[in-house]
């Protein structure tokens, strides 16, 4: 059975791109979220195997969403999607419980490597 993924990003473009990369690698995208709040709600509802999380989102940012999700599920497998120069935020996200990160622009191979690492 393929792994389920929740894709969180406020840009449709990025969601499509990540979705494509993961779908083509055999993952199944079970949900998308445009805001941090939506991400937390959908996580509880869908219990996906993996979450990809943008850092900067309206209505609760990605880091806060990671914190909220990890409160209910410390084992949540969350992959942060960050842009160059956001290292401090990524560090914060990892401290909040994110398991790995990828840096935009995405190289599919790196995204998949990170996902493989998380799902181990």
């Amino acid at each position: 059975m393929s792994h389920t993924v929740l894709v969180c990003d406020d840009a449709i473009f990025m969601r499509t791109m990540i979705g494509d990369i993961l779908t083509q690698a055999g993952f199944s995208i079970v949900g998308e979220a445009e805001t941090g709040r939506e991400a937390v709600e959908k996580y509880k509802q869908l219990k996906p195997d993996l979450v990809t999380m943008d850092i900067v989102m309206p209505d609760m940012g990605g880091i806060e969403a990671v914190r909220e999700i990890c409160k209910t599920d410390p084992d949540a497998k969350i992959l942060m999607c960050s842009a160059m120069g956001q290292q401090a935020l990524v560090v914060e996200a990892v401290q909040a419980g994110a398991k790995d990160f990828v840096v935009k622009p995405f190289q599919p191979s790196r995204v998949l490597e990170a996902v493989q690492r998380i799902l181990g």
């Binding site: 494509d20 083509q24 690698a25 290292q87 990892v94 401290q95 790995d100 998949l112 690492r117 181990g120």
Partner: protein, 624 residues
């Protein structure tokens, strides 16, 4: 946007990188069977390959990589693998190399690795099951607590990894999952500083075995090395990071660079034409704009040329394996050394020199280096030595293949050359250049017994003609009993050439400026006869003349006056090229050139001038 072919290309190139690395590490391992870094490196490469192949949905490839990885895991805990393992692993890498291409072409399902898998199983079963794929938990159960409660673990994040600090933190988190982590240096708070170089250490109190720790931390990605103790870090980091950290590049399809290069080439031509028109009748403003365009185009050209530069290791990397396989096959013992791997060449040239170098190396292994017994008889060490080195030589790159073998036996070649009617019967000796030409003739081989490795007599000829086409040259030095050095000289960039334009009859020809030592006037008083051939006396030099009119069969009368003469110099050889007139100097863009058969072998390419007229580029090496 993200189609499958793009993935396929990425998968292919990365897999090849990893497999190449495997080859190198296998060689390293073979030299030093007790070393643990190569095994870990191969293990990691297999793991990555497995992951990538899995992501691509190539089940057969994934299976082979996975089973190899499992075996390597066992071997890691039982080091000192026998030579059969190495051979098996070399064959696995070969199979994966072929398999990767086939899988990308849609043939993963047809891949049949059953024989190899069975062999891997045999080895796995005959080895003590001290390791396992799931090292982590097992190690905890089976291995006793080490004598020391804590170890200092040193981790280096790859220098080209994005956000090394964040990656380091993840590695630290992973370590914490293995046991108690203390004394982290530098403090994690400093990880997010830009100056953090990705190296850190900590004390780990854990029951996990060393290899389990290495694997766990290595698995967080972008980890160049994991080592133990206070000092070990630098050595182990050197081994892996040198291999993985030297490619701080983005991947660009070569076709794109080619296209960009062509576009810039046309821009250069158009720029030249524009400048000509404006000089003829242009306002000062126009001239200023044209000059500015000229500068920008010039810079663009430099940038594109730079972007195409590729370090030679990309081609050299496969040679250690080739030399090893060949020498084993031929029963020779050879230490192979590579120098100057970082020297850069235009990508297109790099692709072209692979085959010539392979020929030279094969020749060195097959004909150069003697079998161990013969070497001993001659008082040489039984292990022969072949050095492949690259170095910069002004605007060219010199690549040398030298061996300490038997050298080229001039007498034997002369005898053979006379017998085959290549040189006159009375010839007493061959000059180096003659020798090379003789060696380079199709069908001329001095191998006493033709092996399937070389000796079919096409090699040297292929080398020389390939090089000429690239504007390069090949020279050699050889001492009987001591060895041979071939020096291959090629321009480091291919596409744009500074050329002198000369006219003969109604045609113009481009002569690469790099080969023109000077220009003089052809004065009949300076002309002498040298061995029945015409030559020009210039200061204390006597230089053979070449009348381009005669060579190209130009029609019409020569213009009156003293014809200009170009003194060509290539690798110490000279010729005086007599032309009708000099037209000027300019940069020309070399176009791919496939001369029709029967064409004079004195041209190396063609170009299109600013006025849209094509001209041929003379090959100075063919004239001297």
């Amino acid at each position: 946007m993200m189609d499958r072919s793009r993935y396929a290309a990425l998968f292919l190139s990365e897999s090849r990188e990893h497999l190449n690395l495997c080859n190198q590490l296998l060689l390293e391992w073979e030299r030093d069977p007790k070393a643990s870094e190569p095994v870990t490196g191969i293990f990691r490469a297999m793991h990555t390959l497995k992951g990538m192949a899995g992501a691509m949905g190539f089940t057969n490839l994934t299976e082979l990589a996975h089973r190899t990885e499992t075996l390597l895991d066992i071997l890691r805990s039982a080091p000192g693998a026998s030579i059969e393992f190495h051979d098996l692993l070399f064959r696995v890498v070969d199979a994966l190399e072929a398999g990767v291409s086939q899988a990308v072409a849609g043939g993963d399902e047809q891949l049949d690795f059953r024989a190899l898998l069975a062999e891997l199983d045999d080895v796995s079963n005959s080895s003590p099951a001290t390791g396992s794929w799931a090292v982590d938990t097992r190690a905890r159960v089976e291995e006793p607590v080490g004598p020391e409660p804590g170890r200092v673990v040193r981790v280096a994040i790859r220098s080209d990894a994005p956000m090394r600090g964040a990656r380091a933190l993840i590695a630290l988190r992973r370590a914490e999952s293995l046991g108690r982590v203390t004394a982290v240096r530098p403090a994690p708070a400093g990880f997010e500083h830009e100056e953090f170089d990705g190296r850190f250490s900590f004390r780990l109190e854990s029951e996990s075995a060393d290899h389990a720790v290495v694997e766990a931390i290595g698995s967080v990605g972008d980890v160049a090395s994991v080592s133990f103790g206070e000092e070990a870090a630098s050595t182990s980091a050197g081994a892996t990071s040198a291999a993985t950290g030297r490619s701080r590049q983005i991947r660009v399809d070569l076709a794109r660079l080619d296209s960009l290069m062509n576009q810039v080439g046309e821009l250069v031509v158009a720029k030249g034409r524009l400048a000509e028109l404006i000089t003829a009748d242009g306002s000062p403003e126009l001239q200023a704009v044209s000059a500015r365009i000229g500068r920008v185009v010039g810079e663009m050209q430099t940038e594109v040329i730079q972007a195409r530069m590729t370090p030679v290791w990309q081609v050299f990397d496969r040679f250690p394996r080739v030399v090893r396989d060949l020498s084993r096959q031929l029963g020779k013992r050879i230490a192979f050394q590579v120098e100057g791997e970082e020297i850069e060449l235009d990508r297109a040239l790099l692709d072209e020199i692979g085959d010539p170098l392979l020929h030279l190396l094969r020749n060195a292994v097959d004909h150069g280096i003697e079998p161990p017994t013969e070497r001993k008889q001659q008082g040489k060490p039984p292990e022969g030595r072949i050095v492949l080195s690259a170095s910069r030589d002004r605007s060219a790159v010199a690549i040398q293949v030298s061996d300490d073998g038997r050298g080229i036996d001039r007498a034997r070649i002369l005898a053979k050359a006379i017998k085959e009617g290549v040189v006159d019967k009375g010839t007493a000796s061959l000059t180096d250049d003659q020798l090379l030409r003789v060696l380079a003739r199709p069908g001329f081989s001095t191998a006493t017994n033709v092996t399937d490795v070389s000796g079919r007599g096409v090699g040297m000829d292929a080398v020389v003609s390939r090089l000429r086409g690239l504007g390069g040259s090949l020279q050699f030095e050889s001492t009987v009993g001591q060895g041979t050095t071939f020096t291959l000289r090629i321009p480091s960039t291919l596409a744009i050439l500074r050329a002198l334009l000369a006219r003969v009859g109604s045609e113009r020809y481009a002569v690469p400026l790099a080969s023109v030592a000077e220009t003089v006037e052809y004065v009949s008083s300076a002309v002498v006869s040298l061995h029945g051939k015409e030559a020009l006396v210039l200061r204390d030099l006597v230089i053979p003349t070449v009348h381009l009119r005669e060579r190209v069969g130009a029609e019409g009368a020569r213009p009156p006056g003293r014809p200009p003469t170009l003194i060509l110099e290539v690798g110490g050889q000279r010729a005086a090229l007599v032309v009708d007139a000099l037209v000027g100097q300019q940069e020309v863009v070399v176009e791919a050139f496939d001369g029709p058969s029967g064409m004079l072998p004195i041209f190396s390419g063609a170009t299109i001038l600013g006025d849209g007229e094509p001209v041929l580029i003379l090959d100075p090496a063919a004239l001297v």
